[in-house]
Amino acid sequence: MLFDQIAQNKRRTIYVLIGFCLLVMAVGAAVGYTFYNSAPGGLIAAVILAVGYSAVMIGNSTNVVMKMNHAHEISGTNQYLDLQHIVEDMALVARVPVPKVYVIDDESPNAFATGNNPQHAAVAATTGLLSKLNREELEGVMAHEMTHVRNYDIRLQTIALALAAVIGILVNFATHFFWFGNRKSDSKSGPFEAIMMVVSLILVILGPIAATIAQLALSRNREYLADAGAVELTRNPQGLIDALNVISDSAPMKAADASSAALYIADPFKKKRSWQHLFDTHPATADRIARLQKM
């Protein structure tokens, strides 16, 4: 049952990633076509940008993500020994190397994991999480993060984050030139060019939205899997259930980075449930708890 879920999840991940790459190329081509009269040029530029940006992010994701979220490292110090010990315990049962541990000064309880692979992973917890949860609950949360590490979810999220950022850059670039640049579209004429123009504009406008939807679709399913994996590690569903309740009853985070929202164990912004759930980074806490109770 669980393995079916993992296999299905892997397939879905590949589809979404392929779609994501196509989207980056399409947006690149659209930008190129609209503003430089050269769709292939835009496409090539987009691919170069995407590959380069992903490479930089994969090489350096921990530092970048931790900085974006104002986290500081506590590994090797005497601070928050209980958190460090819990992370060690969970790494032990998950049979992964102990990741680096970071803390974020924020009263809202939350946590995330990042990195390129289990050998270069890092987990972060907010000070609110450490003060509001007891040991069992903290174990549940850290076990959830450790499952993300073990399943390579952290690498996938890093790539998704990079691709979404690339689309953002392309579109920013396009809108800048739309207002200030020298558009050459006056030289075009005929119905075909007009249609292409409209299609391109729509892509430029809808690209970032599609990118967000793709990023979130990757994230939501993985949360259920990580919850199940966490229970496999701690053998204690109640700890994670209590933790999710505490986390969902608390105020949103002050300074979480919007593009890393999908990394957190629960949505750091506490948005209202949106239309058809397309824009949710996380499944509803009630659904997650219901699944945990069945274990």
Binding site: L81, D82, H85, I86, E88, D89, L92, V93, R95, N134, R135, E136, E139, T234, R235, N236, Q238, G239
Partner: protein
């Protein structure tokens, strides 16, 4: 000629399967040994912490001398357990865990002891060790399960019996730990 090629291919395939089954068994057995050594490290660590704990709490009169003595006795018993006898070591360790729990329960009655930095550091260290013992025992048991499953199922059981692999025993988990959450002295 064709028959020769077919036989060669089959033989090569069989060798590949054999090697991978053998390596799988070796890996499973290494996991079992590794997870035992993790338990062992934690048992030793706890034994090192206990004298400090007794030193710290012995000035407080509510601690019955007999309880502290029992801790020392169990500690010595654990040290003297032969290194191969995992079941015996864990049985003593469980008794020691329970006695330590009662020491920490008494500690709740002393606000000045709880405020003592050395005591709270010891408490976190011991809690950490107790949890690590529980988690490494869980890991040990799941490693044993996967080794035993390989030794019982076809075709790895054939390779296993050819190389005299032995099934390993589970470490029994105390009844209360199955239902109750892991130890946490501080809550």
């Amino acid at each position: 000629m064709t028959i020769g090629i077919i036989i060669a291919v089959v033989v090569v395939l069989l060798v590949i399967v054999y090697i991978s089954l053998y390596n799988g068994l070796i890996k499973a057995r290494t996991y079992v040994q590794e997870s035992w050594s993790q338990i062992d490290v934690q048992l030793k660590r706890r034994n090192d912490l206990i004298p400090n704990l007794i030193e710290t709490v012995k000035g407080y009169s509510h601690y019955e001398q007999s309880t502290l003595q029992k801790v020392t006795e169990l500690r010595n018993q654990l040290i003297n357990t032969p290194s191969g006898d995992h079941q015996q070591a864990m049985a003593v360790s469980d008794q020691l865990s329970n006695t330590l729990k009662s020491i920490f329960a008494v500690g709740e009655a002393y606000p000045d002891l709880k405020a003592d930095q050395e005591y709270s550091r010891l408490m976190e260290e011991l809690t950490n060790t107790e949890n690590k013992i529980a988690y490494s025992r869980q890991l040990y048991n799941s490693s044993v399960a996967s080794l035993n499953m390989k030794l019982q199922s076809f075709p790895s059981n054939i390779v296993g019996s050819m190389h005299h692999f032995q099934q390993a025993d589970y470490l029994e988990v105390p009844e209360e730990e199955k239902t109750a959450p892991k130890v946490s002295f501080d809550k």
